[in-house]
């Protein structure tokens, strides 16, 4: 499978995500608040939780200081439904606590109303 329509562009509002399939694989399609689409493997790299059951949210950032939280990247972080690990959509799906790890991602393009995932 080289490419496939995974959803309609109107299926997702900015800040939402949904599950779809790419061939036999379950994929997670995300739309960030700026309107861009992204797609990842829908399985957490830790113990395999279905990521679509987690949430798209923001994150407290490294720039926080002890006792003072900074919260940003709203709608750009995938948080796993089990152990809560955070993956940064805009940074290739890298884990916030360990950026050497990332969720495998797919390329995405939008043609008219169609959101297409390809390798």
């Amino acid at each position: 499978m080289r490419e496939q329509v995974v959803c309609n562009s109107t299926d997702l509002k900015p800040g939402e995500m949904m599950k779809s399939t790419f061939g036999k694989q379950s994929v997670l399609v995300c739309r960030t608040p700026d309107g861009e689409y992204y797609a990842f493997m829908n399985q957490c790299i830790h113990q395999g939780a279905p990521l679509d059951k987690g949430m798209l949210c923001g994150a407290t950032t490294e720039s926080s200081n002890p006792g003072k939280y900074e919260y940003c990247h709203k709608g750009e972080i995938i948080r796993c439904p089990w152990h809560g690990r955070e993956f940064d959509i805009k940074n290739e799906g890298r884990m916030l606590a360990n950026p050497n790890k990332k969720i495998p991602s797919f390329k995405v393009r939008v043609e008219g109303e169609q959101v297409i995932v390809y390798k």
């Binding site: 830790h46 113990q47 395999g48 939780a49 279905p50 059951k53 987690g54 949430m55 948080r79 796993c80 439904p81 089990w82 152990h83 809560g84």
Partner: protein, 353 residues
Amino acid sequence: MQRNQIPLIDTDIHERVQYEDILNKLDEPFKHYIENCHWIQEKHMPYTQPAVAGVDRADAVLPDGRPAGSDLAFMQEQLLDDVGHKAGILTSALDPSPSSMHGWHEMAAALATAYNDWQIENWLEKDERLYGSVHIAAQDRERAIQEIKRAGSHPKMVQVLLPIDDIMWGDPYYHPIFEEAEKQSLMIGMHHNEPPVYYGRWPRYFIEWHSLIPTAHMKQVTNMIFNGVFDKFPTLGLMMIEGGFTFIPHMMWKLDQQFRDLRHEVPWLKRKPSEIMKEQVRFTTQPAEELTKQEFTSLLEQMGTDEMLCFSTDYPHWDFDSPTRALPKMDEQLTRKIFSENAKNFYPKLHAI
């Protein structure tokens, strides 16, 4: 989930009760206090559990919005059938566990009784794979003993979940409870609970409290060993639930070394502390740290036995451990031990399954 090849005995599954579920099992006036006066158990934790759906796996919340763990059919579909459990031991959702109730012992004891009956009727008798834990309000010792006799005599009740309080478990106060548990072929289970581990107060962050839970387990095991509980009750076993296991070698070395130096203070000990642990104490595996195969194997070598660990998922809580992903791959014999035989050998009422 990838199906498990080895029959699994899961030593920590949380079924969830809501007060309305047990109202018909509560005597008056306790029913009245909940139904009409809106009594709820006081909870002390200052933080939310900072995961996606609070204390639960977000995908274990029921499709109709009811809380995770509150429906047998959904648990069967998502856990027992999916993984292929041979057996699972229910440890509740800690509410209405009386363990954090310091006053009103009558209410605590009434809740425990209602809870035990509800557990038997709705879970143990509805799925042959499920086994249960007797809940007691140990603050009222005589009632607790009666409850162990009453509910603990059920063939599918395998342990007493002893509430954690400000009297350590080796204290003679608990010995009559241990005696009754032993008579009923029940083990004692310790599941971590709300009482904090930080000078009687809560640490500033949840992550600190959660990281230090094993220290609460270490304290109880140490206290029970040096107070002679395991020699006094030689067929009693202790299952330490949800405290992890990587601290076990440290404890064995530390207690043995202390015993060599300071034995004169506890002359009633007939065996080295590490021997007592090997024979009478078991640990559930979750929450497992991520270990390489080599780290895991070396840990077992340091324990000197592969018979102390019993696999657990902690379903449906957020820090659930997957039976196929949480521990490194092991050979078949070791897998059998950790995933089922150790638990089967430990709980007398599971010997025959």
